[in-house]
């Protein structure tokens, strides 16, 4: 695998829109070409090279291209948007929309990510070692078909409305999760190893949510039974779980909530 190294320079407060930082656009390009890719700084059309030192070499094929970002890019939005193949490693924290509309490949963030990471993701792997913001793996405004495939792993905590309108794929959160996890969910799996205060699975009509820690369950969920070491979408869970069906505010809802007991 060939590597392109991006080292952030001074980044402006206005925030950058950097949807061009993806292996698919880097592949087969020279360092110079990559450095001249478009980035928006506020209303200014700038070049990637204005904000990053670009080093290394890209492969002809995205799948053989790894982008390593050395440092913190909290102010940078949309890194890895629509990634189909290859790899991105961010050795710091990243801004909003990391891995938005991702279809394949792998993105790893060693620090935290801001909100809307993995928005309407369709495939690939998004790994966040720190915390995620709100709307992780969620649908875009108005879209009733959110995350459709792929896997999101968060080793820290996640914010509100994780997996909004999820219709496929998996989200695993090792820490705690904000309110409304899996709201309007239709398919797929969310595993919360920590706690989530309340309203998990609100208005869900399908799919599964597993909560290992504490949570208040909505009065519109109905207890079903206790399950030992259940297997859900290929995930083997250890221990005993009280299962609930819901959200019965909806008609004919078939969502399942697994609460560790």
């Amino acid at each position: 695998m060939k590597e392109i190294i991006l080292t952030p320079k001074e980044l402006p407060d206005v925030g950058l829109i950097a949807e061009t930082i993806t292996p698919d656009l880097f592949a087969g390009k020279s360092i110079g070409k990559i450095a001249s890719l478009l980035i928006f700084a506020g209303n200014q059309r700038k070049k990637l090279g204005d904000f990053f030192e670009v080093a290394g070499k890209s492969a002809d094929d995205a799948s053989d291209t790894r982008i390593v970002i050395k440092g913190d890019i909290t102010k940078v939005k949309m890194v890895g948007k629509g990634t189909k193949a290859g790899e991105i490693v961010i050795e710091g924290s990243a801004g909003m929309y990391v891995g938005e509309e991702m279809r394949g490949g792998k993105i790893t963030v060693l620090g935290n990510v801001d909100s809307f990471a993995g928005q309407t993701m369709r495939g690939g792997e998004l790994v966040i070692k720190g915390n995620a913001g709100d709307y992780l793996g969620a649908a875009y405004r108005g879209d009733w078909r959110g995350m459709r495939g792929g896997v999101i792993l968060v080793e820290g905590n996640a914010g509100a409305e994780t997996g909004l309108f999820m219709v496929g794929g998996k989200i695993k959160i090792k820490g705690n999760c904000g309110t409304f996890a899996g709201v309007h969910m239709k398919k797929g799996l969310i595993i919360i190893e920590g706690q989530t205060p309340e309203r998990a699975g609100a208005e869900m009509t399908g799919g599964s949510i597993v909560v290992m820690g504490d949570t208040d369950i909505l009065p519109t969920f109905a207890p079903v039974n206790e399950e030992k070491n259940p297997e859900i979408d290929g995930e083997k869970l250890k221990g005993t779980f009280q299962t609930y069906s819901g959200d019965h505010a909806e008609r004919g809802a078939k969502g399942m909530l697994y609460k560790f007991v």
Partner: protein
């Protein structure tokens, strides 16, 4: 105003029986003239075809309902955006483009006129504000009269002249162009969550039937002598087995006559040609409907083709939109308008793999191909209901090429081949047919054929040029080339000004808004006005004085004054 000589093109001008002749077109002061004006700019169109500017008779491009559709679908807008340029404003929206973008997109297709067909009178101000923000086109809108309490009560009382006087007042108050009827009676019934299920199913509390409303308004329309006929969205849109209602409806105004045009324009008939009694045996009844249209001499239709896209449905047919969302469980908007009508909106995905969608796609094409006289079947998608108008070039390629249709029949759900007659139809449109169903026929139906939809002397200098060499291109084989050429006009010329060159906007203008102003007998008008005042005070939520659209809301009006003094005299 600019003068032009459009040279060496192959001209298709069906209204003047010009069918693919090489000839020059001269424009002076925005109008087509006999001979070249001194110093006129030359445009060489050798190896290109020339048609009158496109005329759109039914496309939801402006007004409260359209804007609710925009509000409802941010996820749709993300799919298609236009950045600002030195010349043009920015915009967004695939199925419900924003106003500026709507004008640019139509112009790129070679269109110069577009009518928005469903304006709730109480919301007329909004419709006009949006029309003012749609560039590149002449425009107009049709006030809705389907659930109108005044109309229903006058017709119930058999007071046809008062109904006519009221309709005249309504057109003036809304700066409207024609009378639109959407699911007659059904929209008032929807005020109670009900609907009118047949032409003889009475409206709750008003004790009048859809049949009586249609018949009455057709008479009103011809009494007033409006340019366009009644523009009817029939009852039972989208329902299984609705073709019977459709055929029944075509006969209703058969009593009324007009020497220049039809007395009934039946719109988006694809949605009204359904057979079967369950979605499992859902099938096309396009053949039956086409037969009925072929037989009648005073009704014409537009198709409402389905283009197999993810789109937004929006009609003033509230109960239908409710029914549709109850099938899909998609998000749903409803906007009942007091004393008038009941628009609704919900997204719909016509998936090619879905049998119903595939059959709907076939039905739209069957109608176009089975109705013999192209002047009787106009091409629309009922934008955005069957799909966005930006798909017209694709529909043109389907109409012009059997191989194009066969290729689709291979791709889409097999039901399209089995439960429609499309696979058995050989007919292929020629350029003259295309010019008829996208321009000439639409202009004639609107009653604007003096100045629009043709290239004869005195017509508007509205011209579309496409990069197609008819001598060296076989549309049947090169259907992809046809779609490409019609997607980006080589030139769109409006009023003698070049607005589009090679598919790019080169000049931005704002067209005129057409509205009709019939004058009936003064004393009758006074009587009706006192009825209006009495009912406004009690039942409307606004004062009468604040209801009529002020002149300032129509940017470049063209008022069509109509003397209807005989009404009431």
């Amino acid at each position: 105003m600019a003068s032009l000589i459009i040279k060496n093109g192959t001209v298709y001008d069906p209204a003047n029986n010009v069918n693919g002749e090489k000839m020059d077109i001269y424009i002076k002061d925005g109008k087509i003239v006999e001979k070249a004006a001194r110093g006129a700019k030359k445009i060489d169109c050798n190896g290109k075809i020339i048609m009158p500017g496109g005329v759109e008779i039914h496309s939801h491009i402006a007004g409260g309902k359209v804007n609710s559709g925009r509000l409802l679908r941010p996820e749709d807008h993300k799919k298609l955006v236009m950045p600002k340029t030195k010349l043009t404003r920015s915009g967004s929206g695939f199925s419900t483009p924003s106003t500026f973008m709507t004008g640019y997109l139509y112009s790129k297709l070679g269109y110069t006129t577009a009518m928005t067909p469903a304006m709730p009178p109480l919301m007329a101000r909004h419709t006009h504000e949006e029309l003012n923000d749609i560039p590149m086109l002449d425009k107009g809108s049709y006030p809705l009269t389907d659930g109108n309490w005044f109309i229903m009560r006058y017709l119930k009382d058999g007071d046809i002249e008062k109904a006519a006087a009221y309709a005249a007042w309504l057109l003036r108050s809304t700066k409207g162009f024609a009378l639109k009827i959407t699911n007659p009676g059904g929209t008032e019934a929807w005020g109670w969550g009900k609907n009118c299920k047949s032409l003889d199913d009475p409206v709750p509390y008003f004790d009048i039937t859809p049949r009586e409303i249609i018949k009455g308004l057709a008479e009103v329309n011809e009494m007033l002598g409006l340019p366009h006929s009644i523009h009817l969205h029939a009852n039972n849109l989208g329902r299984l087995g609705n073709y019977e209602t459709t055929i029944d409806t075509i006969k209703v105004p058969s009593g009324t006559k007009n020497k220049d045009r039809q007395t009934l324009h039946l719109t988006h008939v694809q949605f009204h040609s359904y057979g079967g009694d369950s979605w499992k045996n859902f099938e096309s009844e396009a053949e039956t409907v086409a037969k009925a249209v072929n037989k009648t001499d005073n009704a014409i239709i537009d198709t409402g083709n389905v283009t197999l896209d993810n789109t937004t449905t929006m009609t003033a047919d509230g109960p239908m939109e409710y029914y549709l969302q109850s099938l899909t469980h998609f998000k749903w908007m409803n906007r009942d308008v007091e004393l008038e009508t009941a628009p609704g909106i919900t997204p719909f995905i016509y998936s090619p793999k879905m049998s119903t969608a595939a059959i709907q796609w076939a039905i739209g094409l069957e109608l176009g191909l089975l109705i013999k006289d192209p002047w009787k079947v106009l091409m629309t998608t009922d934008h955005p209901n069957g799909g966005p108008f930006t798909r017209y070039p694709r529909i043109i390629s389907w109409l012009m090429s059997r191989p194009a249709r066969d290729e689709m029949l291979e791709k889409v759900n097999a039901a399209a081949g089995k439960r429609s007659s499309l696979a058995s139809i050989d007919r292929e449109y020629d350029f003259n047919d295309i010019a008829t169903v996208t321009r000439a026929g639409q202009a004639r139906s609107l009653g604007l054929s003096e100045t629009k939809g043709h290239l004869g002397i005195g017509a508007h200098g509205d011209v579309a040029v496409y990069d197609i060499d008819p001598d060296n291109m076989d549309p049947s084989k090169d259907f992809k080339g046809i779609e490409k050429a019609f997607s980006a006009a080589a030139y769109t010329i409006k009023g003698g000004e070049v607005l589009v060159r090679d598919g790019e906007i080169v000049k931005v203008t704002y067209g005129n808004t057409y509205w009709t102003n019939p004058h009936v007998d003064k004393s009758l008008e006074k009587e009706v006005l006192s009825d209006i005042e009495y009912n406004f005070k009690r039942y409307y939520s606004v004062n009468l004085a604040n209801y009529p659209v002020q002149d300032k809301y129509v940017k470049n009006p063209i008022e069509l004054k109509i003397d209807a003094q005989k009404v009431g005299a």
